[in-house]
Symmetry: C2
């Protein structure tokens, strides 16, 4: 009924003990508690030496007044903002949404806020990071979510002179949290090799337009390692873009090839599902005619019965935030740190032993 706008700044005749903007200020608390503003500041932040009784009195006064310190004023005076900038190339993709969730949850535990920067993937959208100094003096630290940055972008962030933690990418000067992508690729490959597959294809990322090239490259390196160790020829590689559609496009090429590979590793579950879709449309049986492995353990991996190398994305997010909180508490000089979380092979129905009887109805459908 009542529109908020109905009651603008026109607060009632200014209650006792309220600053001019209708909100109590530190002076009001000081007056009520019978101490100086300096003491209020100290007591409220829990730092410094304040006697127990004084602190109690201040806390009570603040509570009575419903006092909350002005973030702007506090930042201006202290130089700290209590805000962490999170930079991501996407928000709605599985990996990023979950990573963000983890980061936000952990930071909140320490009273830190998250300021979101979806920088996108195109040059123009990315200029956000460069053109304006959006982050300057606005954040105490930065988390970069799996996003390759141009040298100038790195320079801009460096220029902020705040700690930076990367998640899923490796940028030399910064702290890093991630999985062992080489091991992830190796795990997937070894699984297929153990099932007897020899002609295996890899759907990776796009080396040119990708926003996190190293991820796909590292996973491929692991695949090659395993192939080499098993004396199997290097898998052919197709370009994907991490999405369902990209996986499907790669799948089209792959399943038309002669000879058709007997197994496919995709660098993400979304691409793997794309491949599965094409296989189904082609009338191929999975896993009799084709085995498929993904990476992620996306929630829809289960519904597609997809074997995958699971990565703990929420935990990665928390770990990144953990690291950041720690670095922030340490003060200035903290040597570069790296946190690597383990992956785990989740075997489902999309992978199976190589069947040499392509047409036989091995599986009742």
């Amino acid at each position: 009924m009542v529109s908020r706008a109905d009651a603008p700044d026109a607060a009632p005749p200014v209650p006792v003990g309220r600053g001019r903007r209708g909100v109590p200020g530190i002076h009001d608390v000081a007056r009520l508690a019978g101490v100086s503003t300096a003491t209020v500041s100290r007591a409220l932040r829990g730092v410094d030496r304040v006697s127990a009784p004084t602190r109690t009195r201040v806390l009570q006064a603040a509570a009575d007044l419903g006092y909350v310190a002005s973030p702007s004023a506090a930042s201006l005076a202290s130089g700290r903002t209590g805000v962490v900038g999170v930079i991501a190339p996407f928000l709605s993709r599985w990996f990023f949404a979950h990573a963000l969730d983890g980061v936000e949850g952990r930071l909140r535990e320490d009273g830190l806020h998250v300021l979101l920067f979806n920088v996108g993937t195109t040059r123009s959208s990315r200029s956000v990071l460069l053109d304006q100094q959006l982050l300057r003096r606005r954040v105490d630290a930065v988390v970069v979510l799996s996003c390759d940055l141009e040298p100038e972008e790195v320079a801009v962030l460096q220029d902020l002179h705040v700690p930076v933690v990367t998640l899923g990418v490796d940028v030399t000067p910064w702290h890093r949290v991630g999985i062992d992508d080489v091991a992830a690729g190796r795990t997937a490959m070894q699984h297929l090799l153990s099932l007897g597959h020899r002609d295996i294809a890899y759907v990776g990322g796009d080396r040119v337009h990708d926003v996190h090239v190293a991820t796909a490259v590292d996973r491929r390196a692991g695949i090659l390692q395993a192939a080499e160790a098993a004396g199997v020829p290097a898998p052919r590689e197709l370009v994907g873009d991490w999405t369902l559609a990209g996986g499907a496009a790669a799948g089209e090429l792959l399943l038309d090839a002669v000879p058709r590979p007997t197994a496919v590793i995709a660098a993400s579950d979304e691409m793997a599902v794309g491949v599965l879709g094409v296989a189904r449309r082609r009338g191929l049986r999975v896993p009799e005619d084709l085995s498929v492995v993904g990476v992620d353990d996306h929630e829809f991996a289960g519904t597609h019965d997809l074997t995958t190398v699971a990565q703990p994305v929420d935990a990665l997010g928390r770990a990144a935030a953990d690291l950041l909180v720690d670095v922030l508490q340490q003060g200035v000089a903290v040597p570069r740190r790296t946190v690597v979380l383990p992956t785990r092979l989740v075997v489902r129905g999309s992978t199976g032993s190589l069947s040499r009887t392509p047409a036989s109805p091995v599986r009742a459908s």
Copy 2:
């Protein structure tokens, strides 16, 4: 190699024209441009009357110095923060991730920042919203993403005295963006009725623990409308929780029922896919033995060949931000506004005519 921490505050001998913290301040720009700080402030913000030559000079000086106004100082002086708080019960679920994406993208176009508040769903996590006044003076406005709020939570937000826009829920005093959930339910139901289905079940939300009760209730209302209009008995309703697992749980109950319904409407695609999974495990053919409709048009709806009522979530997010930007520009008094975006039936393979020959192989698999 070089840890960021290696070069702390110890900047080189302070270059000419730099404030004490090593970053140029408005005074440095004023000096370089030969004007007052007041003029610099006006010129840089593009507001007020500043002569063209003066403005040019100031802009040049600012650019030369790489000057960026301190957000804290600006907020303190102006009372505006340029930040919008976004409140959500989840970050990683499809709907929320996409809505957030839309909101962020649109706000960025107007230079507004997004401060994220994942308030969760449990009482304790939700207390975030209440206990501390996290938002006070930190944001110029708030967007609430599909989240039912307790009266006290509404009061806290009201107390902020900033514009609030809700997305996907309807909280009386606030602006609202969403779809017509009643129509969405009706559309799904009419589709099934037109295919000859009469025994239809609905998997909705949990009326008690749900974080957006009205959504499921409204969709059900639309279903009932359509049922009534067609002279068909009201569908039985099962409780879901919007997730895959919840849909699967409801599906178990539903597909064990005697008689088994011939069609299911789920209030979200994730739940619909959960039902499909159970159907598959039960050996039921879709759509010969069971038709399933969802709501959302989740990216995995396609891979599961799911018929669904699509809602434009990114667009909803943009619309919410649009509305907010407009309200913010209007100044104080803006009567409550509502924006409703259309949904669209997307027919895929999970729905079909009612088949009275349960065992016949109607469909080659």
